[in-house]
Symmetry: C2
């Protein structure tokens, strides 16, 4: 036995999002207590279900349902948890600077999640909300409720307090308006407001909602949401966001829509820290090798929204989804075990796309599962099955019982 092997290899996992937490829970299953020194770093003491945040923001699901205490799911005999914020990675020195300290690594897993991408649209950063995390989602919920309360207590009513703009009719935008469609009648009841006064307007620059989805499903979604009172402005670009609302343009027509609430749900990019730390990246996304490693850095894995992989079939990147991030976590844990033990072969990552379901509120959805199109309550049930399955993969059956979705009506 040589000197070096006396020292346990140090694994540092940055971020407890889908990619990071799946790496951690899979690694702790694979490794014995003494095989490696594993540290998980996260700015909160909880993991959250990013794909549920739109429900927290709309107010249809309590934020505590979307978050999971990290110490409830990691085995602290095998993984150290450090609650701190990552400032920068210094790959040459194999260390990570944190706000309150630093950690060194032999192997690094970068799992810090997405950031909102505003494409330079004026005023969006200052005046629009984005569903970035639990705190942001909670603020959106409270902001909307506050506007309703203010309106009810106002002598000269300003109807724009009751207007909610959702920027973007992609997956997140549509799931959000789906929740809002259910939430608005509740808000009207709670705050004694006439439903007719409330507007939820979804603005999308592209010529259709849910680009990439099957046309028939898109048609279903749009009809369903319009019946529930959602207004769509398609082919309409947001030019500016102000304190008063937004300015949109369609063809050559410019229009102001006054609104007290603007939620930007259109763009995400990878995490800026990858670029700031010198990794080659495009909008915060690093094109990883088949084993999920950053080019030129054999000891740095990148999982989740900051990793970029090309879907060869269509020659376009895979979208940043929870499904892929979680699968990457499994592969990443396998590959770490191979490297730590210095035995076996690295595994190539192959996404296993089971399908996509886009909810339209808790009681309806559209989607494609194993190539089959589904709509309506069946799709809504399927969505909950998917949500519960994610919980199962992260924390086993007890987590599903604790945080799962069982309102199958």
């Amino acid at each position: 036995m040589d000197v070096i092997s006396l020292r346990k290899p140090k694994v540092v996992i940055l971020g407890a999002g889908y990619g990071g937490i799946m790496t951690a829970v899979n690694l702790q299953k694979k490794l014995g207590v003494n095989e490696a020194e594993v540290t998980l770093v996260n700015n909160n003491d909880y993991h959250y279900q990013t794909t549920w945040l739109h429900e927290n923001a709309a107010g249809t699901l309590h934020h505590d349902r979307s978050r999971i205490q990290i110490t409830d799911i990691i085995d602290r005999n095998k993984i150290n948890f450090v609650q701190d914020t990552v400032v920068k990675i210094v790959p040459e020195e194999q260390k990570v600077t944190l706000q309150n300290g630093e950690v060194t690594y032999d192997y690094l897993v970068f799992g810090l999640g997405y950031e909102s991408e505003t494409f330079g649209i004026k005023g969006l950063k200052e005046h629009a909300f984005s569903i970035a995390n639990i705190n942001a989602a909670r603020q959106i919920k409270e902001h909307i409720e506050y506007q309703f309360a203010k309106y009810s207590n106002m002598k000269e009513k300003k109807d724009e307090l009751l207007t909610i703009i959702v920027g973007g009719a992609g997956f997140t935008g549509i799931e959000l308006v789906g929740e809002l469609a259910n939430r608005v009648p509740e808000l009207c009841q709670e705050f004694d407001v006439d439903r007719e006064k409330v507007r939820v307007v979804c603005v999308e620059a592209a010529p259709m909602i849910l680009p990439g989805f099957d046309e028939e499903l898109v048609e279903y979604a749009r009809n369903y949401l319009e019946r529930k009172g959602i207004e769509f402005r398609i082919g309409t670009a947001i030019k500016e966001c102000t304190e008063e609302g937004i300015i949109v343009a369609k063809d050559d027509q410019v229009e102001e829509i006054k609104a007290a609430t603007v939620i930007w749900a259109a763009g995400v990019r990878g995490n800026a820290i990858v670029e700031e730390s010198g990794f080659e990246a495009m909008r915060g996304r690093v094109k990883v090798d088949p084993y999920l490693r950053a080019p030129g850095h054999d000891n740095v894995f990148i999982v989740g929204d900051s990793s970029l992989m090309i879907n060869e079939e269509i020659n376009r990147p895979y979208p940043p989804t929870a499904q892929i991030a979680m699968q990457q976590g499994v592969t990443c844990a396998n590959n770490l075990a191979v490297l730590i033990r210095d035995q076996g072969n690295l595994e190539e990552f192959k996404p296993d796309l089971k399908g996509t379901v886009c909810s339209l509120g808790h009681d309806d959805a559209i989607g494609t599962v194993y190539g089959k199109k589904i709509v309506g309550w069946k799709a809504a049930v399927m969505k909950k099955v998917i949500d519960n399955r994610a919980l199962f993969l992260i924390g086993g059956p007890s987590l599903v019982l604790k945080k799962g979705k069982w309102n199958f009506i």
Copy 2:
């Protein structure tokens, strides 16, 4: 039988507060269907328990618990209900101008409630909340929650978002800080905020809290609330309220206290409409005759916060309380019946002061009941008994069951 008696006398009751609603429910018990044409006018379709509003504002009681649908308690065979806002009374023409119409009367009961009195303090009207009604209380609750949500989602924390100023340490001010003392830990839990960061500051110009209360009880209240984290600034006047907080002065020391929430709970006055309609009044309060009538207007009764009566024993006005307003409603209904039937004698109003209990949250209180001092859980229970009794008087046992307070711990 002469011609005049063919026409049923018209009674109009303005306001469904404690005084107005008690007049209505007692009158409907006394009168047969054909004896008079009684109309109750109110701006909302509900009565609310004004003495519970501080709980709605703090967020410790849902606002729906404090309000009662008027049609649930009046007998519509005997009383017409008109939902409208009173603009003005024209006593010479025996008519009342409403926002959307007018009503004429033979007998009028004026029961429109208090208004906030800001004593000319600069900026209070613009920047401070007052617990004026259900809508205002609900806005305060939502405002506070929104500040907490904003704080949690802020990078550079502004602690003043978590500061709540209560102006006034009279009955309402103390009951409000009592609720807030219980509510703040819940808010901290809900919004992931450190309790140490939250301040609730009660500012009072007088040299003591709860002026008029027994000294020993005052001492108890202050100690209790301070132990629960309430700060008192006694003998301290609010000089100005700004967007940023308040400016206070004690002796010659001027100080700014930054706060995102300022609630003015110090002054009430009668309703401005009595003055605007030409009744002789002082700060909206009319010194009524022993039968509760406005001087010079034998067909106009004034009940509740706009009526002024002198307590001869101490040669000071009785305070505007729910207890007195409700008792006035009973006397007023009796006197109306005498006038309508033109038989019997008018009854003099004599307040029957059973005592006062000031809550310090739902689980503690101080008070004097039938001359006996009580504190602690016994007083808290007594407070609930009083609250439930008020419901009983307004709507009988079914209302007590529906809206009563049963959390006797």
